[in-house]
C-alpha cells in the first residue's frame, strides 16, 4: 500500500483529500503546515505528497525545497494543490521540484488523473 502525506491548513480540505486518497487505496497521513510535514518526512518519507501552498509557519514552496534537500527527498511524487492558479506560480512550483499541479477547486477525478500522471497509480 502506498502512502500519501496531505499537507493543508484547512481541516476540511484534508478530510476531503483523505477520503479521495483512501478510495484510491493510499495510506494517508496529515500535516497542517510545512514544518509539521517536514517532521513527518524526516521520520518516514511518503510515496506521494498532496501539498497546499499558502499555510502558516512554513508554506508549501519552502517545505518542498527543504524536503527535496533531505536524504531521501527525491523519492516522493509531489502534487501541489492550491488556489494559486497563475502561470508564474505553476512555473515556480515545477522549478522547485513539484511533479504535478492541481488548481483548486478540485474533485476526485482530477486527483486520480494527476496521480496517474506522476505514476502513483
Amino acid at each position: 500500500m502506498k502512502s500519501c502525506l496531505v499537507v493543508d491548513d484547512s481541516r476540511v480540505i484534508r478530510k476531503v483529500a483523505r477520503k479521495i486518497l483512501e478510495e484510491l487505496e493510499f495510506e494517508v497521513v496529515e500535516a497542517a503546515d510545512g514544518s509539521e510535514a517536514l517532521e513527518q518526512c524526516k521520520s518516514s518519507m511518503p510515496d506521494g505528497i498532496l501539498l497546499d501552498w499558502n499555510m502558516p509557519v512554513m508554506d508549501g514552496l519552502e517545505f518542498l525545497k527543504a524536503m527535496r534537500a533531505l536524504d531521501n527527498g527525491a523519492h516522493p511524487k509531489v502534487v501541489f494543490c492550491t488556489t494559486e492558479n497563475d502561470l508564474e506560480h505553476i512555473q515556480e512550483a515545477i522549478q522547485s521540484g513539484a511533479d504535478e499541479y492541481i488548481m483548486k477547486p478540485f474533485d476526485s477525478e482530477i486527483v486520480e488523473s494527476k496521480f496517474h500522471q506522476v505514476g502513483l497509480l
Partner: protein, 278 residues
C-alpha cells in the same frame, strides 16, 4: 416523460445521428434538454415534444440532436493510445511514408477538440523528427457548437486538469481570464469540419490513421457496421484505426482485425500491416 414522447425523441435522435437512446439513458434527457427547452421559450420537455410534433421546427430538432450527442472529452483520454501513437505508430509511419513525407489523421467525433489537440502536442514534442513532414489532422464532429468551442481552443480550469500534464499546460496554453487557451500555432495544425458519421467520409479524403474512440458504443450493430465500412473506404491499406477501450470490431464487421499486441488498434483484415509487432 411518457413512453410515446421518449420513443419520439429517441427515433428522432437515432435518425439524425445514429445515436441509440436506451431507457437507462433517459435520465440524460432532462438534464440535457431542459436548457434547450428554455432557449426556445418552452416550459418543459412535454411542451418541447409537442412543439416538435406539431411544428416540425428544424432548429429545435437540430438543437435536441446536438444536446443529446455531446460527450465529455478529456486530454490524452486513456493515455495508452497516445503512448502507442508516439512509440509505435508514428515511428513506423515515418518509415512507411518516407517517400511522400505526408501523414493524414482523422479524429472522428472530436467533441471540444481535446483528442486532436493532444495529438498536436505530441507531434510538437517530437518536432525534431518531423522536420520536412506534413501532418494533416482533420477533426470532425456532428455539433457546430462543439466545433466552435474546439476551434477557439479555450478551456476551463476543470477541463485543462483532466488528463493534461502540467508541463504541457505551461508550455502550450495561455491564461486568458479564468480560462486557458491553446497556442494559436497548435490550433492551426487542425482542420475542423462538421461531419455526420452516418454520411460517407470520402469527402474528407484518405487517411493513414483514424481515431474513432468511444463513439460506436452509442450506435446499434447495423449503424456500427455502416460507420466502419465508411472508415474502411478511406483508411489506407496499411493504416490504423483506433477504437475506444470498450469497443471492438468482433461480431460487427470482418473488414477490420485487431493489431496483435496493441489494444484498441485495428487494421484492414486483408491489408498490409504498417505496424509490426514483435
Amino acid at each position: 416523460m411518457n413512453v410515446a414522447d421518449f420513443e419520439m425523441l429517441s427515433t428522432l435522435v437515432k435518425e439524425r445521428s445514429g445515436l441509440v437512446l436506451t431507457q437507462e439513458k433517459s435520465y440524460l434527457l432532462e438534464t440535457r434538454l431542459m436548457p434547450v427547452a428554455r432557449r426556445h421559450g418552452l416550459k418543459g420537455l412535454e411542451e418541447l415534444c409537442q412543439t416538435i410534433k406539431q411544428k416540425n421546427d428544424k432548429v429545435l430538432i437540430e438543437d435536441v440532436t446536438e444536446a443529446m450527442t455531446t460527450n465529455e472529452s478529456l486530454f490524452f483520454r486513456d493515455q495508452k493510445p497516445f503512448d502507442q501513437f508516439q512509440n509505435v505508430v508514428l515511428p513506423q509511419l515515418l518509415v512507411a511514408r518516407a517517400a511522400t513525407r505526408r501523414i493524414r489523421i482523422w479524429s472522428a467525433a472530436c467533441s471540444s477538440g481535446q483528442e486532436p489537440f493532444s495529438l498536436c502536442m505530441l507531434l510538437k514534442e517530437m518536432q525534431a523528427k518531423m522536420a520536412g513532414w506534413k501532418v494533416e489532422i482533420v477533426a470532425t464532429d456532428i455539433s457546430p457548437e462543439m466545433l466552435n468551442k474546439a476551434k477557439a481552443g479555450l478551456y476551463t480550469q476543470f477541463e485543462v486538469q483532466r488528463g493534461l500534464p502540467i508541463q504541457l499546460l505551461v508550455k502550450y496554453f495561455k491564461q486568458t481570464g479564468d480560462k486557458w487557451q491553446l497556442d494559436a500555432g497548435l490550433r492551426s495544425m487542425v482542420t475542423f469540419r462538421e461531419f455526420n458519421l452516418l454520411d460517407h467520409p470520402r469527402i474528407l479524403g484518405n487517411f493513414d490513421l483514424v481515431f474513432c474512440r468511444n463513439v460506436l458504443i452509442y450506435f446499434d450493430q447495423p449503424t456500427k457496421a455502416h460507420v466502419l465500412k465508411g472508415i474502411s473506404d478511406v483508411l489506407s491499406k496499411d493504416g490504423v484505426l483506433y477504437l475506444g477501450g470498450a469497443e471492438t470490431v468482433l461480431g460487427v464487421t470482418d473488414m477490420f482485425k485487431p493489431v496483435v499486441g496493441q489494444r484498441g488498434m485495428y487494421q484492414h483484415a486483408d491489408g498490409v500491416p504498417a505496424i509490426k509487432t514483435d
